[in-house]
């Protein structure tokens, strides 16, 4: 059972790699002076449905902890620490949104918004929400593809 699953996952991984560039690692991301990231992290187009899921899930993006999104009204308890994300696709380009999700500080200096694709520069990083010390090879909060999925979903958020 597990074996079959592994095999299937392996094939998907191979297929992805074959059709795409190498994944850009967190410390290799290139920002422009405004915090934009023009290049896709994976070369694989993001899946907006998967992105919406990431944004609603506590252990992943948990974006609704701080942001209201009218199109996500089915998810309970939106916070208002950050601005509403309604219409963000009209306010920002894809490159800008990618930069904001990867490391918001590059767009909004000293932003309270966490960096979702960053692996160093932290004070006492932990291992997820366990309260224990982080492993030496601390992964970013979101994977490269999850970032692309979130950006793809944000690009669907037009006014009206």
């Amino acid at each position: 059972m597990t074996g079959t699953w592994r095999l299937a996952a392996g094939i998907v991984a191979v297929a992805t790699v074959a059709s795409a560039q190498a994944v850009i690692a967190p410390n290799a991301v290139e920002f422009d002076e405004y915090g934009e990231v023009a290049q896709s992290l994976t070369g694989v187009p993001g899946n907006p449905d998967a992105g919406k899921e990431v944004m609603a899930t506590r252990s992943l993006g948990n974006c609704v902890a701080c942001h209201q999104v009218t199109a996500m009204a089915d998810v309970p308890f939106h916070g208002d620490v950050g601005p509403s994300l309604d219409g963000v696709a009209d306010r920002w380009s894809e490159a800008q949104l990618r930069g904001i999700v990867i490391d918001a500080d590059r767009t909004f200096p000293d932003s309270i918004m966490p960096a979702f694709y960053k692996t160093d520069g932290f004070t006492r990083p932990g291992d997820g929400y366990t309260g224990k010390a982080a492993p030496a090879d601390l992964p970013p909060i979101l994977s490269a593809q999850q970032v692309e999925d979130v950006v793809a979903y944000l690009m669907t958020l037009h006014d009206e």
């Binding site: 208002d80 620490v81 309270i112 966490p114 309260g131």
Partner: protein
């Protein structure tokens, strides 16, 4: 083009943040416990709290239903801990065959303690919390084993000690020998911990009154501790709450009773100088 977009984006942020704050502001209800203990739930911020004009008790941020539970001791589940501690207070513990009441007669003799702790201890040359003081009595005067810093017995005892100071104005000393510990605590309060890089101040100073998912952010005051948390169905100590908040930033936390949390407690307590002691309070 790019600049214009940025400005539009910025304007929207501002308007929405203001609207959000107005929706979820703390209320202006008055807190009188048992119809007799008048609490100060709003007070001018003391001068050492640079970024606030007013300090507000966590009680003001809770729903009417949760607030009501703290207004009468018969409804306050935290008072069960106080009752358990009352029995302990009179029970001889340790090799000296003494109870707390052998030295302190009644819990009321300890009125005022909660309002001034954490406090510099001359003999030990360190800042002591109420819990450290309780363990000092147990081990050095009564010949007993220390209680676990966060054990049920300890939290009960700290609830009893808080309860007899209810209504007294918090007045924690931050100068003299306590100053360096206080400064260490202040530095922690503004340190952005963990993979989420969030400081206490990010949530409890910059965003008090706003919603973070299902939670209405308060100023993170500790004048109500220990707090009975409905979610945990238990009394929760100050350090337990600190540990939870730091863990939620995806950080490696500090231990309850650690020198770091003692310093943070002194600093956070001093941010409440001017509010009244409410423990045991009721929170969700």
């Amino acid at each position: 083009m790019r600049q214009a977009k940025r400005l539009v984006g910025g304007g929207a942020v501002l308007v929405l943040l203001l609207a959000g704050a107005a929706l979820a502001d703390p209320d202006h209800d008055e807190l009188i416990v048992n119809g007799e203990i008048e609490m100060i739930v709003r007070a001018p911020a003391p001068p050492h709290v640079e970024n606030l004009d007013e300090i507000i008790s966590g009680w003001s941020f809770r729903t009417d239903e949760t607030q009501a539970l703290q207004m009468d001791d018969f409804d306050n589940p935290g008072m069960l801990g106080v009752e358990r501690a009352l029995v302990m207070f009179d029970t001889p513990m340790g090799t000296a065959g003494q109870a707390c009441s052998s030295c302190h007669e009644t819990p009321e003799a300890l009125r005022g303690v909660r309002a001034t702790y954490p406090k510099w201890d001359e003999e030990r040359q360190t800042v002591q919390t109420v819990e450290m003081q309780v363990n000092e009595c147990l081990t050095e005067r009564m010949g007993a084993e220390p209680l676990g810093y966060d054990s049920t017995e300890m939290v009960d005892m700290s609830a009893l000690i808080a309860s007899v100071s209810r209504g007294m104005v918090v007045d924690v000393a931050i100068d003299g020998p306590a100053q360096s510990t206080w400064e260490k605590g202040r530095e922690m309060y503004y340190t952005r911990f963990g993979q989420l890089e969030l400081a206490c101040a990010n949530c409890h100073e910059d965003n008090a009154g706003r919603m973070i998912r299902a939670d209405h952010l308060s100023q993170g005051q500790i004048n109500g501790f220990p707090a009975y948390r409905l979610n945990n169905a238990a009394l929760i100590s100050v350090h337990n709450r600190f540990r939870g908040c730091i863990r939620d930033t995806r950080a490696e936390t500090f231990e309850v009773g650690s020198p770091e949390f003692v310093a943070l407690e002194l600093y956070v307590a001093s941010r409440g100088n001017g509010l009244t002691v409410e423990g045991p309070s009721v929170r969700n």
